[in-house]
């Protein structure tokens, strides 16, 4: 059995409009599983529900329907039984390192507080020593130097490292990283990615890596799911999805992914319009209005995930060159 399992996960937000209440389906019937030590990349544009999904997995956002299980035990049960222990099991790294930390506290206060709350270490001195060791391990040298500083005195890359150190203090077995590098400069992104990979290697932590950047995700994840308006449209091994994309949305994303080489010419997939993320009922495939190969059936009937090859699945009626007129 997989370590983490999400089954039929849904999230609806109530929207009050001029014509009464309606619901916005932020996450719609999401299923996946994650083994211990596996990294899953979740890719999508803004508003596709990827962050909501991440927050639901660790109980920061209530689940509307469906369930999440850790080692076969339900998330709600785990949280009710002992929230503190659950927080030690599942942690999160946030997108913006500049507002992850309280601005008026020194790093020492911020980091030791975590250990105090979770009863790690007998006294302050022991906690401090432990903290110094963790910082050194994370490449923040000299560690003494960092403890007495305030968040505003540190750079984005350093703050994000500290944020990861703090999340890993309790040795969680599951980590959600929500766009951990998108606020950082390119030259320090690699460090953060490598740091996360290192953690996985050493502690066998399972991770969900949320990103809008396909190329970055490729370097860290074992498997990828692509989301569009709350639904998973394609899932599979990293190379399967990126080198043999099946869903037209994945194809479009890949075709617009920037390349540094000016000589490389990529054929771009036409995607008119913009994602409609409004409230209300939808019928059919949510990508159909922008899809270059949509047929009548796409507008009537929601496609189901179908297996393309071992481990690679996609939700599209027109996959594999089925005709447009069908």
């Amino acid at each position: 059995m997989a370590y983490l399992e999400a089954e039929h996960l849904c999230k609806k937000y109530m929207v009050r409009g001029s014509n009464g209440k309606s619901f916005l389906q932020a996450v719609d019937d999401v299923n996946f599983s994650l083994e211990q030590g596996e990294i899953l990349g979740v890719i999508g544009e803004s508003g596709c529900g990827k962050s909501t999904l991440g927050r639901m997995l660790i109980g920061l956002e209530p689940i509307t329907s469906g369930r999440v299980t850790y080692d076969g035990r339900k998330l709600e049960g785990l949280m009710k039984e002992d929230l503190r222990r659950f927080r030690g099991m599942a942690q999160m790294v946030f997108q913006n390192p500049f507002d992850t930390f309280p601005p008026k506290q020194t790093m020492q206060n911020i980091l030791l507080r975590v250990m105090k709350i979770h009863h790690i270490g007998a006294d302050k001195e022991e906690r401090r020593q432990r903290c110094l060791r963790l910082l050194e391990e994370a490449g923040l040298k000299p560690a003494e130097d960092f403890l007495n500083r305030y968040p505003h005195e540190l750079s984005g890359g350093q703050l994000q490292r500290l944020s990861i150190v703090r999340s890993m203090m309790l040795s969680p077995s599951f980590l959600v990283a929500d766009e951990p590098v998108s606020m950082l400069d390119v030259s320090v992104r690699a460090d953060i990615i490598n740091m996360l990979m290192d953690i996985r290697k050493k502690k066998n932590t399972a991770m969900v890596f949320i990103s809008h950047d396909l190329a970055t995700t490729r370097y860290i994840s074992d498997r990828i799911v692509v989301m569009y308006l709350g639904r998973i449209v394609e899932s599979g091994g990293t190379d399967q999805v990126l080198h043999n994309p099946q869903h037209p949305y994945t194809k479009a994303l890949l075709s617009y992914c920037g390349s540094v080489d000016p000589r490389e010419k990529r054929e771009q997939v036409e995607v008119p319009g913009e994602a409609f993320a409004g409230a209300g009922e939808r019928s059919g495939c949510s990508f159909a209005p922008r899809c270059f190969m949509a047929c009548g059936r796409c507008f009537r009937e929601q496609p189901r995930m179908e297996t393309v090859e071992e481990g690679h699945r996609a939700a599209c009626h027109c996959m594999g060159g089925k005709s447009k007129t069908e």
Partner: protein, 318 residues
Amino acid sequence: MALLEIKNLNVTYQMKEKEIAAVEDVSLSIEEGKPLGIVGESGSGKSTLAMAVLRMLPAGTKVEGEISLKGKELLTMPEAELKALRWKEMSVVFQKSMNTLSPVHKIERQLMDMYRVHDGQTPAKEIKQRLAQLLALVNLPERVLRSYPHELSGGQLQRVSIAASLMHNPPLVILDEATTALDVITQGQILNEIKELRDKMKVTWLLITHDISVVSSCCEQVAVMYAGRLMEYGTVEQVICHPAHPYTMGLLGSFPLLYGERENLKGIPGNMPDLSKKPEGCVFAPRCPYAKEECRCGRTGMMEIETGHLTACPVGRR
């Protein structure tokens, strides 16, 4: 004659206790029809450079050097003359340009007001025609004119800003991280539109970004900046395919690739230096893998290694 010529530009921010050299000794030029991209990380001074060209830096900032637009010196020009130049000869689109739109007025009204600030003579009917034409250029339907900003998406608003920057046919448009906050697909589409504008409207742009892929897809010239200094300058082909400066190499190496071998990503170790302290020697030396003793003492200027390809590094050049 170059469209825009920057010579030995220095910009120093004056703070209470310290001075920060945000741009130091930068010389660049843009030829008509040859868009230039400035690449750099945060704090590299690329936006400061753009603000200096627009003369929009905060009061009290020390600006030295020469900036000339079509032969007219910008830095010493009287305010009134500059006002006549703005939007007609050069315009700008910021990363958050969409936030400058008023939330309580319809787009049409706002764009008409903007038009009239720089040209009060044109009758309303003609302006409306012009606006419709502009929106078509950036692939927006006409109904956008009758909408309020909150009814439009981020990508649409950014397109409105681009249309606004083009209303008086300026030969130079500065795009300061204009597509950074947008989704991948929207960014790609807007970049395609910008490329088309080059032929349709004869506009040349100065594109400022941290994303090398944006520059390599829609610029001809590229300047790489680090800590306020110019590191490398040349055509896209020269700089990106055959980088001569270790910083450019590092930057290219840390860019994740979609295809090809999946190796470990290599970053550039270390942090940006404190710009209030004048470093001796090359500003990149503390992070540079090839740095030698000579790099840490003397500074060399830009040197030409082949026609049009300049680098600030004597070591990488060899």
